[in-house]
Structures are given as C-alpha cells and as structure tokens.
Symmetry: C2
Subunit: 174 residues, 2 copies
Amino acid sequence: MAESPAQNSLLKSLEPLGEGTPLAQQIFDMIGHSKFFDDFNREDIQMLAGFMQIYRAEPGGMIIREGDIDDYMLLIIQGKVDIVKTDKRGAIQPMTAVGPGMTLGEMSMIDGEPRFATCIAVEPTTFAVLSRDAMVRLIIEEPSLGAKLLIKLVTLLSQRLRQTSSTLLHYMER
Amino acid sequence: MAESPAQNSLLKSLEPLGEGTPLAQQIFDMIGHSKFFDDFNREDIQMLAGFMQIYRAEPGGMIIREGDIDDYMLLIIQGKVDIVKTDKRGAIQPMTAVGPGMTLGEMSMIDGEPRFATCIAVEPTTFAVLSRDAMVRLIIEEPSLGAKLLIKLVTLLSQRLRQTSSTLLHYMER
C-alpha cells in the first residue's frame, strides 16, 4: 500500500471537531450495535479513535465527491448520508442512504482509485475519518488492532461483492 | 474471524503434494509476475508457503463446487481453471478462466458463506491452498506478513467490487 497524493479537499470545507479520542465513548455507544464493529471492544475503539479525525457536516454538505482522488474512509457517528451516482446521461441517481455505524469510502482508501459515488449529508452529521496514512500507521504501531480492522474490511468487501455479483447475475439472466 | 466448521471435502478427492515449503522457489518463480504477489519478496513467499498445502488436479477435476461450505482460498501455481456458475434455469454458464498467479475462493475463506461458483481444472493444475485457520495462524505468528496478505486481499476485493459495480450499473442503465 504505497502512499499516494491525496487531495482530501472536501474535508477542508467541513467543520473539524478534532481527534477522535475525546469522542471514543460516544463512538463506542453509537456504534455498539454496528455490524462493522461488533467484535471491537471498548479498548479497541479507544485506540482506533486516536487514529481518526472527527468532522461535522450540515444538511446538504458533500462528504465525498464522485471522481475525486482522495484516500480516507469514514464512519458515521450521528446523522444520515445519501449516496448518489451520476448515470451516463448525467442525471443524479440515488443509490442508498446510510446512518450511524455505517462506513463509507473504503474502496478509495484501499485502492487509491477515484471515488465511485457522491455522499451528501441529509441531516447534521458527525463522522470519523480514517485516512490511508493513519491506517498504515495503525497497522505498524498496533498490529493486532490493525489486523482486526483489515479482517473487517476484507469481510465487508467480500459481502458487498457477493451481493453485487448476485444482483448483476440477476440482471444478466433477465 | 471465528473458526467455522469446514468440509473441504473436495480437497480429499485431489492429489495432495504436501506442504508448500519445498515448492517455495517454484511458487516464487511462477507467481513472480502475478499482480497479487508483486510486493511479496522471496522471504515472504517462503514463509507463506509454509502455511499452504499443495494439491494437483487432473483435467476435469473439480477444485471448488458452487454452494459448498468450506473455507480455503487457493493460488494457482501451474495449469488452467474454468470458473462456471449455474444459472437460474439450471444451465452451467462459463464465467471466466484463470491461470498461474491467480487466486480463487477468497470470498468464502473470508466470510464463510457458500461458494459462489464452481472451479474446474481444464489442464493438469497445481495449486496452493490457504485455509482460514492457516490465515488466522499466519496473522498471529507473522503479523507483518499477515497484514501484507490482508492488504492484498482488501485491494483485490475492492477492485473486483468496483468492476462488478460498474458492470451492474451498465446493465441497470440499459
């Protein structure tokens, strides 16, 4: 995982609330029921929070923009985010909406390719940002927690790939 | 990643060639150009080979069967493998063919869900098997190599998810 030039320019337009540690308890409470973090204990979350930055977006605030080159994933702590994508006719198509405990943007954090879709806050939204550099540091400084996070990412992507492949087959067989 | 009951029954029908270490040089030579292992050095491959079991399948030999519950991924060292899937009408549909250096079966190794497709050797094929248990041991005993492997898996799945999502959108927009 080479370091890549990241713009992360959208983040500069949002309100930074600082490093995640002071919010670790809140993160733990809010994502306690999240599938992504269901086997992270309080200590894991406390440690992870130290590698994350917290931001806040107002309704209408763009958090991720399709086509951008940047390298963070985010965890929604509070609020609601719409995911939309531009179709080939240039129209904006809603894909899905996600809430607390959900993660966004893992693909670009991992592979450095342009953002696949746009994410827009539809409520006042607080989220934690994990950059690629922070993940690399996490893996080096806390290998056991790093492995836990990587296993989570691998599992999440595998499940999404299964779902997407099944949906694709459904369309192809029609 | 909890350990799960694995049948791995198909492997019992294939010819085992033992643990990977004696084949580490061959593995290294053959997958030297493989994208999956492009930043694994000789020492990494040597270590990884110790966690893998080598098998051989004759043409027509089934390596992975759609719907099976088992928990290994495999790396093709030599030969060629067809990937096919049963469509909803019960007909066998070819999906793709893969050769040396390619990996198969990561999704079930990771998430323990049933196999998505069937893999059949079309040439005499030698492949290395990495089970979920072996991967867990690798992560615990060799955290740095474990992280390297997990990062590879995460990257691979992310790229496949992008491709599959793009293809799906293409079909949905038609």
